[in-house]
């Protein structure tokens, strides 16, 4: 477990993605620290009934209006998987509009459970293959910030977020 996480964090660092970690019980403090206001977010429905994941004690506006989304600097969503060798996040598309919240902002803060870090792309795609077969799901494999080289040099922050921050939620407590 440690090595998967270490390789994941190493890959994130190489991509310019910042990382913090927290226990479940202290998630709200970690989120508060990670966001730049105004911030919007998606209510995280797992584990069910856990108050911390509702983000109520944070500056994050959960389930914002479209106008509030466009005015926000930060968007907070969950990430379904992390991919160790690439530093990628697997983002889902929910009816709560996590796709919009992770995309139409300058700073994306992704919350990832440590247990969801996959060792490598091979394992992650195999996992998605299994899930898609059951659910006809969709996902974005997002690696680092949005970027373009079309304007004569590499620029971070093209259509999507310019900054990405990952909060790793550790097991226990």
């Amino acid at each position: 477990m440690e090595s998967k996480r270490a390789s994941f964090e190493g890959a994130l660092e190489a991509l310019g993605v910042t990382v913090s970690s927290t226990l479940e019980s202290e998630l709200e403090a970690a989120v508060t620290e990670a966001v730049t206001e105004p911030a919007v977010g998606v209510g995280l429905d797992e584990p069910a009934g856990d108050e911390a994941f509702a983000l109520t004690e944070t500056p994050v506006t959960v389930d914002p209006t479209p106008v509030a989304l466009r005015e926000a600097v930060t968007g907070v969503t969950g990430a379904e998987l992390g991919i160790g060798d690439y530093g990628s996040l697997v983002l889902t598309m929910t009816e709560q509009a996590s796709e919009l919240v992770s995309l139409f902002v300058e700073r994306h803060v992704a919350i990832l459970h440590e247990k969801d870090i996959q060792p490598d792309m091979d394992a992650a795609v195999a996992e998605l293959d299994e899930r898609f077969a059951e659910t006809n799901g969709s996902a974005i494999i997002a690696t680092g910030p949005s970027a373009t080289a079309d304007m004569g040099a590499l620029v971070k922050g093209a259509h999507g977020p310019e900054e990405v921050h990952v909060i790793i939620v550790e097991e226990g407590a």
Partner: protein, 726 residues
Amino acid sequence: MATADEIRELMRAEGAAIAENTQGFNAGRYDSVGELEDYEDLKRAARSIKQDAIADLPNLLDQLTETVEANGGTVYIADDAADANEYIRDVVDERAADRVVKSKSMTSEEIEVNEALEADGVDVVETDLGEWVLQVADEAPSHIVAPAIHKSRESIAELFNERFDPDEPLETAEELTRFAREKLGEQITDAEVGITGANFVTADTGTMALVTSEGNARKTVAATDTHVAVAGVEKVIPTVGDLHPFIELIGRSGTGQDITSYVSLLTPPVDTPVVDFTDDETPLSEFDSDRDFHLVLIDNGRLEMREDEHLRETLYCIRCSACSNSCANFQSVGGHAFGGETYSGGIATGWESGIEGLDVAEEFNDLCTGCTRCVNACPVGIDIPGINTVVRDRINRDKDAPGEWIVDGLTPDEEDDGAPLQKRFFGNFETVAKLGSATAPVSNWLAETTVARQAMDRILGIDPRRDLPTFERETLVDWAAARDSQVENPERRAVLYPDLYTNHVQVDRGKAAVQVLESLGVDVVVPPAPSSGRAPLSQGMVATATDHAERVTETLEPHIEDGRDVVVIEPSDHAMFTREYERLLDESAFTGIAESSYEVFEYVFGLLDNGATVDSLSTVTGAEIAYHSHCQQRTLGLEAHTVAVLEECGYDVVTSDVECCGMAGSFGYKSDYYELSMDVGDRLRTQLRDDGVRDRPVVASGTSCLEQIDALLERQPRHPIELLAT
């Protein structure tokens, strides 16, 4: 076909930006795939998935159609561009859309859907920043992945400042990106229909993969309520699990990124709510997610390509651009010269001849020199030079044979339907060389006269700025016939293949090779043998090349059966025997010669590895040398052998790493391509004049590389075997 003037103008206007960007991508590819432990395994897996998918295409299309429809989407398989456009226009019309936003899609450019929609009064906006720049500038893409690769930052700034007149003039890449992001952001949230391409579509779940970096494809889907995905029928693969090798390979092979920022795996219709971006009352989750999804799969010639044994492999192409970036000629001219209606780079010959026709492929097919540097770079292992050769042959046969009366005596070839005069001259160079040696030195004097050079330029398109080869009166075969083997109790026995140039022009390197092999205990014979067929093959004269291949194997077979190894000095001929003959000969004939053939340094390396020592060779202590390997030799993985042997003989070796010297056989002699050839060569010249290199003697393995280096430098290069002879 681009003329010398057109190529010169393109290199002037776009060459610098093209060169910088493509070489950056290419260097990035080497670095990125170098970090991938299972690179070759992934490539094999990717190829095998594509190969099987194209074989099973009709079934996969049926399965995909069923799946997408069960998911609630619609599939339309369009016969051609007009059919596809009609369908898409209906979808847009039914939605009563004023604006369509698009993410980057080559297939949508192939069918020219923008023009079709604009004719209906629809506002079509390209959201990929590169595509948008071109839309604003009204220019065509010059690269399949980075479409505005030919434009510098300065020229984009000039364009934006002139067109949009911003309060503060834009200058930096950051400013230009931010400006475009804001401008396009408003248009995306205001659009009704989003058109995307699809890099892959899986038949099992109806999932499409979109490989992007900017996030515009995500926005194009998320912000609209009608999604039209346009893709060629060849994009379907069986399962989501099959995406794995492609996800790892596509970015690395193309722009040298380990992975692009976003790989969207969409199984439409997606759950993301369709929101009104001006709404300040309703929470996002209260909007519903009613979306229409249309998958438009386009045939447009592809199903015929599938039936064509020579074009079929084109359909494995994942449009990564590795064949563009690794191509020395592309690095100089880009896709505006090396491209057709839609596609560019080496694989474009396959696409354009299959989709548009031979006449479009003919416009740029000559720019593939067959150097093979794209072959190992292609993540699905397509024999791109092979496709170019076959298409060149078809183009030749498509025409009337011109001016046969002029070269009748010089063209004892098999091209009944004819090839253009210039191609037939170079393709039959063996005849010229024989005549040249037989009448040397008179032939050399005559050839160099002004009258002769003017005639060659006018009739054959041979550039007068090139030095012509000087034929030797005594060929290597003559020389060898007049002497006895120097080896008693030989360790091994070999036949040294007298390639055309070694036999007639660079005879000294042949003598050196014989001497080196004998010093290492090898009994050597040098029998007369036909030329390999490399020359006609590179002109697209496949029947003539096949005739050579058959005669060469007939000549060498008795020697091989007699237990002799075949040793080849000229790498392009060695590549014929071990690679190209596979397409020309039956399997047993090919295996017979391929398994017995060794490039001369590969052979020396093997001898040293098996107990021979360098004591009998000419050795040095740390002498500095610069080595330029040969493109086809490198593709076969045989550069290292020369370097290792030279080092064992005491040399301090630095190597060039340009993809090609630019000469590429006859290419650099042709009047239309001389300047391009020299532009490509300039990159090698720069490396050979670098600090720590500029005083080193130069050795090179290929005949045409030696000719090119001779033209590029004051220093006269030699074949490395000449260093080893005592």
